[in-house]
Amino acid sequence: MLYRRIARSAIQVVVPRTQAKAAPLTLATGIPVSQWSDRSVTHNPPRSEFNRYDPWYHFLPLFRDADAVVVCAVGNNAEPAPGPNSDDDDFEAPRRYARSDRHMTDSLIVVGGTNRHGNIWLEQLGSRLVGTNQFFRLITVWAPGAVMTCAQAGSTGGVKQDRGTSLATAQVSALVATFLLRPDLVGRLQTPGSVAVNVKSFVVEAALFHTGDRYDTIKVLGTHNYVRCNNPTPPPLVDPATKRDENGVVGRSVKLKRAQNVPVRRNGVLQPLTNVSLHLRH
């Protein structure tokens, strides 16, 4: 409850003030002294203590209450493939909170990766194929995650091919954004206080295929209408030197413009942040 208390009080205090100007926020945490001196607790906290110190645990319900949709990756650690009943989801945040017995199961969207043919993404590890999606019980929806073309940071305007459930997650996030913009879905999704829950259920409904009960029978939980799930041909590469703007990247970062009217806190606390927004080319 530590962060939840802090966050709630911070929102109550900071938000009204920062409507006009930036407001400082002092954060003082009350960690028992005994824990600072007990190395066994310090370095090997019991599993039951993890949530208390994980900011995601406390913020996810606040995002849900604020009608923000959170989409996260299931991870691709490429460990020997766990079965659908694996308990390995205990240590990673925030995806672990989507498990059926945890508090964000109704609204947190967890994304797994498929290959470009829409099948479960497997990779060769030694002499056998292993699943790269780690925690099958957590996955809400699947999207392409292997051999995707994306911007190449570090080169001016270049692109590269990458893989991972991260890439699948980015596509589903964008897909959810388009759902939220569609006028025909307003009645279905835009219920104050329930947007995240509505979106999660709608995403599952909108997916074209459903998983089987066993992870090795997964066909696709796909988003074919919106992303290049079934297209075996990657989009043509754009010459980075002459058409870099068309890739939406400049140098090591995307084209950014500082957002207007975003409160910025000074004196070392939370400031320039990241208060920038990307204005897309349409």
């Binding site: 989409v71 190449q152 996030s173 104050p192 990247v249 897309l280």
Partner: protein
């Protein structure tokens, strides 16, 4: 803001890149970075807290409820966060962004 690594840029291009992005109309992206708060190479929970609080603040203060999507293409282990927060003799420092 510059991408401290490469992953964020890659994700941004997939979300809203001109050629590669899924969504192309009416969507703005707000990159939020939190790993700058690492201390001796280890991520701190306070840095994550800062970023999450900023996002929540941004959503609430700009009335973005029902229009905001938070993309988290990664996973961090809380025990590694604890490692720094509770390490005896370590004073959590403000992050520098």
């Amino acid at each position: 803001m510059r991408d401290g690594g490469t992953h964020g840029t890659c994700m941004a291009s997939l979300i809203g890149g001109y050629n590669l992005g899924v969504t192309k109309t009416g969507t703005n992206m707000v990159p939020v970075r939190w790993e700058d708060g690492s201390l001796y190479g280890v991520k701190r929970a306070s840095s994550l807290f800062d970023s999450l609080l900023w996002m929540l603040h941004d959503i609430v203060s700009n009335n973005l409820g029902g229009r905001a999507v938070i993309n988290y293409s990664g996973g961090k282990s809380p025990d590694s966060l604890l490692h720094v927060i509770l390490r005896p003799g370590t004073l959590p420092l403000p992050s520098h962004r």
